[in-house]
Amino acid sequence: MLANVLSPEVRAGVIERLKSGSKTYYFFVALFGLILMASLASGLHARLIGYDKAYNTYREVPWGILISTYVFFVVTSTGLCLVSSIGHVFGKKEFMPMAKRAVYLSILTICGGFLVLSFEIESPDRMAIYNILSPNMTSNIWWMGTLYGAYLMFMAVEFTCILLSKFKEATLFGMAGVVAGVAAHSNLGAVFGMLHGHEYWYGPFMPIYFIASAMMSGCAAIIFFTWLAYKMDNKEMDQPMAETMAITNRLVILMIFIIIFFTAWKIIPGMVGGEAKLAAMNAMLSGPYSTNFWGIEVAMGMVIPLILFLMSKGKNLNMMFLASAMMIFAIFFMRYDLVVIGEIVPQYYELGVKEYSHLLTYSPSWHEIMVVMGGVSFVAVAFLLGEKIFDGHKMEHH
């Protein structure tokens, strides 16, 4: 079977398709390729001079934009996996046409996340060794890392099975991917939610919010990339895919409502919390992060896309694309705000000491921004190449 896939005819087909791109296609492949190279160089340079000098994170704010970008990517990946599973694993035929692309994108986005994370972890080599030799079963990070490792493997096998038209096996590994993905992702939420020292994060809210948020991100991502894929080849969307887009439109509207509900209930109890939690809430609602929150998270991430999706009725694809692009941009800021606002209240804030009487500040350095760009460019290049290599991710019936 594998020999068949790698046969000279198949290879010739791939090469032909790769040569068939427009000038714009090659421009973007080259552009994102160059950015990826530059950001890898930037990441290696940061490693060489030391992250303490290259990055703007510090003792009181140890996690910055690289962690939030990692969260952004894995949230999207989990969401894509969940969206793909609706059709592919749970048999909802309406979702079937997008499943293959969603599985492929879920692999790309998690790899993008791991790429960014590899320039955040100080000693990734030790991670490979001591994750196995001295695991800490009470650590959410350990579970998250291990489960995401398994998740990536399951998704890769699932995608391979789809390519080989082994649909029964693909469904099985797809199911395993969903289970590992949900477990890993809720553990990622718990990484934040189980830190008692940060009132903004602490509580059972985070794991639940992360899963709901993943679904919303996954819907936005699949609408965004499907539109791009068809636009790239100047193709008209066929009827089954158009129906998939319409039903995904309904799903994303539901998910936005759920996230609005979650966001409201994150804020309301926060307003009656302790001094530290109140300080974080105020920073988000009326302080230094209010533009991010109201202007980007709420307006661009929820309200405007919601209106656009409703107006599109699932048929106006350009409107849906615009809405999903805005959402993806805003979701990036949602993750950034979630990570950074959780840290800006100093640990000794309530002690009333001079050193920690004000909120802490953080803004990413150029090295950090470049690494983020690397993750984004990796996903972009791999998406563009994937569309040609896998022939527009056409889904055969099974």
């Binding site: 140890p62 972890i121 991670m127 030799l133 695991p135 650590s139 350990w142 640990q347 000794y348 002690l351």
Partner: protein, 249 residues
């Protein structure tokens, strides 16, 4: 799962209702509970919890031998920073990091002295959030002393412990390629037979009292079990059960 059968005596004490007079007095001495808020930290005041006390609680209260503890007499600190200097010298702490620090607090409406200093360091918690969060067991409780130690070679530098610590007690040491933190000078002094940490030994004002809380004759035990001293810990709401206490007087 099989449970060990309890003896009659154990059953009596575990009930918590039927304790002898001697035991009751013993528990009274130890019966301290966190009850309120005072001067930024919660007061560990001398309110008896004897009704709840039992043999198991006592064993769990000070489970290490020696159970190293530090009591900081906050009002005695003059911010001379000799503790910080001694710590840096003893533990080879780089200039971009610190294991202990002295914070400054102004109390405008106080009568008389309006400024006080608050020394901070790793609280060597009984339920350390950093130890729970570390993915590779690079930080752990020393089984004998309860000191939160580092196994640097296992540290991947994910900085989760830094985020998890409610006391801002950790920093990334570039030279060791690992997180560094106060370990009560375990490797640099205690293991070599010294009785005090470098900071406690260097303090000219008797701020830092260091000792074994499981030893009833130690200064730390006496301070923490004397009713007249207000005793509190930092950030008790995190449930970390610290082994660094604060007092005045």
């Amino acid at each position: 799962m099989r449970f060990r059968k309890l003896t009659e005596d154990e059953l009596t004490v575990k009930g918590g209702r039927d304790v002898s007079g001697l035991e009751r007095r013993h528990f009274l001495k130890m019966g301290l509970a966190i009850t309120g808020v005072f001067a930024g930290g919660s007061v560990l005041s001398a309110i008896s919890v004897v009704d709840k006390a039992n043999a198991v609680e006592i064993a769990e209260k000070y489970p290490y031998k020696p159970h190293y503890t530090m009591v900081l007499h906050q009002d005695r600190c003059i911010d001379c920073e000799r503790c910080m200097e001694a710590c840096i010298k003893t533990n080879d702490v780089p200039e971009y990091g610190y294991r202990t620090k002295i914070l400054e607090r102004d109390v405008e409406d106080a009568i008389g002295q309006k400024r006080e200093f608050v020394p901070v360091l790793c609280n060597q918690c009984n339920k350390p959030p950093c130890v729970r969060a570390c993915p590779t067991s690079a930080t752990l409780k020393d089984k004998k002393t309860g000191i939160v130690i580092m196994k640097s070679e296992r540290c991947i530098g994910c900085k989760t412990c830094m985020a998890a610590c409610p006391y801002n007690a950790r920093y990334f040491n570039e030279e060791r390629r690992a997180i560094d933190k106060c370990n009560f000078c375990k490797d640099t002094r205690l293991d070599k037979g010294e009785l005090l940490t470098a900071c406690a030994a260097a303090c000219p004002a008797g701020v830092r009292i260091f000792g074994d809380l499981s030893d009833e004759t130690s200064d730390v035990y006496k301070t923490l079990h004397t009713l007249k001293y207000p005793v509190w810990v930092q950030r008790p709401e995190t449930g970390a059960a610290p082994n660094v206490f604060y007092t005045r007087g």
